[in-house]
Subunit: 253 residues, 2 copies
């Protein structure tokens, strides 16, 4: 089997923002679907894993676009495994237009956990290390965007607190990875989106559940030319809460 | 050309709720896509209409399911025009499983408006009444669910007020039809969804825009065995606000 998969996407009318560009959350969802299919076809998708009581957990996702897909556009997501370590694997993506020209790229980091213990598993031994057979050759690992950044929150200010509801929750009962992206982008005023988002990064740190209150802390990041956002759950006057995820948003100027 | 179209859908992992059933909003989106494709293929889709500065506006949508599509399921949406009046057309849907067995049905009502005046157009004369060529024969109009109900709000109580943000807004700058469905279902506690939703109805009454505050008023409907919800925008102590939409939710017990 090939090491790289192609996954067709079509940009539906309700999946674009007021500028006609695909929502970053919807694009993220397409990437996760492409990743899921790629794993599934090779025998270590979620279906196979659940039988052995393991599952993939997304740890990092960084998407950088020179052009965002627009309403009614047909695009392709290519995805492959860049590298595998004991506890993490790096998976990359290219988003191509219908002429095969790159519109952007993405990087992601995944761990595998044991559903019983919730502890990470050794990827190098799982299925006799079968995943190593799919690590791409170096020359095929074309993903010319920066790696995942580091977050340092020093003087972040609380800008919003929201309750979580039915529509936020996935089949595992957790707030779903895509909904965090929506809630983060909802912190920004309309004018920011006029020229689109250049880069979006997110680090998933802990799970949250329906009913958890999420507090959003925001800090300018002059070096990156963007804004860093930290989400904490169940913050009170007495308790700083637990960090759920951290994100960086860089708009086109 | 056939009068009835079939539109394939696949239930993606992030499109199901904590019970594994497709979100009603996502199902609604699939129906609207099927409707859009059906119109588009016959020359009176949004693309064609924008050239003549008209667009379709969804007025009513009622979905009734005996089984909800579940994660990873392949289904088909069939859609057709039931009837055409001067200012409205009725479009119906059947949702079938991969064996072609019905899982549920839906009814919808659409108007066409002139984008300049925002006034409704005469469907019987538009494109020389071409839409009349696609009204199905009576024996093919199989949609065994009740018609759209009536709403009477008497003692509705305010249960939530939300602000609207970037992710709520569609390419026209309006709060999108699907997002209302999400926000309405988010009013209900988790336990309601254990056995799924039997019927969901919505009547779109007025547009709202990013930044509008939406207030949700709720009233039990004993006759229907469900709950009626009215959304009003920009309610203040002095102003009851404008009705944006009205909905009815009936859960399986």
């Amino acid at each position: 089997m090939e090491k790289i998969d192609s996954h067709a996407i079509f940009v539906e009318p309700f999946h674009v923002d007021f500028t006609g560009r695909i929502f970053m959350g919807v694009l993220g969802n397409h990437l996760l679907n492409a990743a899921g299919n790629h794993s599934q076809r090779r025998g270590w998708g979620i279906g196979a894993l659940n039988e052995t009581s393991h599952t993939w957990v997304l740890s990092r996702l960084s998407i950088e676009m020179t052009r965002m897909p627009r309403q009614f556009q047909h695009c392709t997501v290519r995805t492959w495994v860049e590298s595998v370590m004991r506890l993490f694997t790096n998976r990359n993506f290219a988003i191509l237009d219908s002429d095969g020209q790159p519109m952007g790229y993405a990087r992601s980091v995944w761990a595998m956990i044991d559903l019983g213990t919730r502890l990470p598993c050794d990827l190098l031994s799982l299925y006799d290390g079968d995943i190593l057979n799919y690590v791409v050759d170096q020359e095929d690992n074309v993903c010319p965007i920066e790696g995942h950044g580091r977050f340092r929150f020093r003087d972040a200010r609380l800008v919003r607190t929201i309750d979580t509801y039915y529509s936020d929750v996935d089949i595992n009962g957790h707030i779903n990875s895509i909904k965090y992206i929506e809630h983060i982008l909802d912190l920004f005023g309309k004018e920011n989106f006029e020229h689109g988002i250049r880069r979006f990064e997110i680090a998933y740190k802990a799970e949250s559940h329906m009913g958890d209150r999420l507090s959003f802390f925001v800090q300018d990041n002059a070096d990156a030319g963007g804004t860093d956002v930290e989400i904490r759950k169940n913050v009170t006057d007495a308790n700083p809460g637990d960090v759920v995820c951290q994100a960086r948003v860089i708009f086109n100027k």
